[in-house]
Symmetry: C2
Subunit: 379 residues, 2 copies
């Protein structure tokens, strides 16, 4: 089957680019003593995980328990669930541990650790926990220099149902950087935060075997890894236009695109309609943020081989099932006849891929669809 025979809209994954992206990230940490624990929240696919895990130790990161269950079903046994645990999710956590998964959970709340411990004791298990740190993102986490860190560490240590394993942070604030130098600075702040917190815990006699950091920009541009034990990142596997604009990758590294069909010409409006709208592309507008080189609207429009951008065409507007292509200059209608196909590179691939349950595989410029991989969604 070729790309021209697929039903649109659908998700296309260039396996050649995927493998190159994964190998590049793996090589970055090879021999450093820092383990790469790929974050599967973007790909949510065991086939992608197998490629990301090549030449790595085999552990992964997930953002939902559904991912944890799915990857455990597919043989992955070392999983960090990197979103603060809540008591109501305890039964699924216990079930994962019961079946032999080495599951690590995180929190920044004493009340949560206490409740997890209470339920764990009741269930007859001990739950591995990391203390979530805020290294500058200002989303979740305690500060590395705070009293709360030590209080939480002590409490987790004395609670019979918890096992304190160390610390974890995520420099999501790297997404706000607009130069590589800024990213390097954020990467160093992320490292210093994690290493400082681990040192303080150890100085108090507490355990901090795990010193975990990670975001694709900081994992790409760090200047030091000293004191870290692992790095978690995920979007690097696919890349997206936003990541290319913040120096994580180049446009020709982007492995995932949406295949769409031209369904209408509006010559008087200098635009073309495709059958990929807000549901097919997501409504993420990350390239519209301040200080980025180009606002691509809801996607960057490439030819069907995904090798060449169609002039400066972007998906300027989306409706539920319609995308409106626009151009700064005269619209290149001749390049996009009715019924022809384009590949749309997403703003933010985590959101776009989540609208699909299947990846259609291609290898580089060859338009043969070599297979399909499934992915999961939901919670």
């Amino acid at each position: 089957m070729s790309l021209s025979e697929l039903e649109t809209p659908c998700l296309v994954l260039d396996r050649t680019r995927l493998e190159r992206n994964c190998e590049r990230m793996t090589q970055r940490f090879a021999g450093t003593g820092v383990a790469l624990r790929p974050h599967m929240k973007t790909a949510k696919s065991i086939d992608v995980a197998r490629i990301a895990l090549k030449d790595n130790f085999g552990g992964i990161t997930v953002s939902t328990l559904k991912e944890a269950e799915y990857f455990a079903d597919n043989g992955i046994t070392d999983i960090t669930y990197a979103v603060s645990v809540v008591p109501d999710k305890f039964p699924r956590i216990a079930a994962l541990i019961d079946r032999g998964v080495k599951l690590t959970t995180i929190t920044d709340q004493i009340a949560m650790a206490e409740e997890v411990s209470r339920r764990a004791v009741e269930h007859g298990i001990v739950v591995d926990m990391l203390i979530e740190l805020d290294s500058g993102e200002r989303r979740a986490g305690v500060l590395a220099e705070s009293d709360e860190l030590i209080e939480l560490g002590k409490r987790m240590t004395e609670l019979p149902g918890c096992r304190l394993r160390g610390v974890i942070t995520h420099a999501g604030n790297s997404y706000l950087c607009r130069s590589i130098d800024e990213i390097r600075k954020v990467a160093e702040e992320e490292r210093v935060c994690a290493v400082t917190a681990a040192r303080r815990l150890r100085e108090t006699g507490l355990n901090a075997d795990v010193v975990s950091v990670g975001s694709t920009p900081t994992a790409t541009h760090f200047t030091s890894l000293e004191g870290l034990t692992e790095v978690r990142c995920g979007v690097y596997m696919f890349g997206d236009v936003f990541q290319s604009e913040i120096f994580s990758c180049a446009i020709d590294d982007l492995a995932v695109s949406v295949l769409a069909t031209v369904i209408g010409h509006r010559r008087e409006m200098n635009s073309v309609l495709i059958d990929a709208g807000g549901l097919a592309l997501s409504k993420d507008r990350s390239t519209g943020a301040e200080g980025l080189p180009e606002d691509i609207g809801f996607g960057m429009v490439m030819d069907v081989t995904c090798q060449r951008r169609i002039d400066k065409v972007t998906v300027g507007r989306v409706y539920q099932e319609h995308g409106m292509l626009v151009s700064d200059g005269p619209f290149p209608f001749d390049q996009l006849p009715i019924g022809s196909r384009v590949r749309v590179l997403p703003n933010h691939v985590c959101m776009t891929a989540a609208m699909y349950d299947t990846y259609h595989l291609v290898d580089g410029t060859d338009d043969t669809v070599t297979g399909t991989w499934s992915r999961i969604n939901g919670w």
Copy 2:
């Protein structure tokens, strides 16, 4: 089971409100001679369709062929597929017609009608078609007064594989209105556009049995229905905060919300984290548009009964799996302890509901979950 036992995030549907919303829209057209053909693109559920179809003629509108196939599987046989047909989708269209579905397709392109006809003849069927009109949205469609309308009508009539049924338009521009008077004006423009096009086709000796319009705002605030045969609208079944801000419904009409759990307090940042982020809520920002009463960010935060708003709390930021609640004033931490639950009313329910495959049903203020309904997604 009660709401407090559900895994979060999940989608909650208040059946009492759904039934009231559907009945209200049905009553609006009862006895007018204009048929209500509910648009199922928002709900994508046969259970919701059955409620929307109560006291109506039984035909529906869909936005994807997957919806058409799903509803046909569930016994609905009169379906208008209201997104411009493309040649590559022909095999699925033919399969629906072959199994006895009265499927109506639309286009605004002569080339598309010709290609559909060619394939239809080859397949031994005739495909019902409506001409898509642009009544002011400036998305797709030909203008009612244009030469293209007559050309397209003539061509569809002479093509052996097409059967011209009439005209269709959608006043999506009603979403830009900021007063009921403006919506009334747009509704009248939508009606005049459709009626004018139908009259011009008939004056040329062409068929225009179907004169179809519809959007939730214009179906709510029309001043005349003269000359119309049917109305299509969909989001009215559930409503959302954006629709409440453009006068389609009240906040206490909103039937769909996302149930979420409080997973963190950030007192120094005056905010609270919930386990519903960009994937659970979607990244639609429609209430952020100019001229609307309140930008609710990514959702309006209600208590677990969905009867009372938590002060002025909104979902100010979203990450993939985290939502950050913010408030203009001092944050009401005491109302949102760790582990407690909220119901988040979405900006744009079509996008939010698409992140789930299940509706959890409640009836009004009772927190008993009375059942689940499935929904479909994808293409």
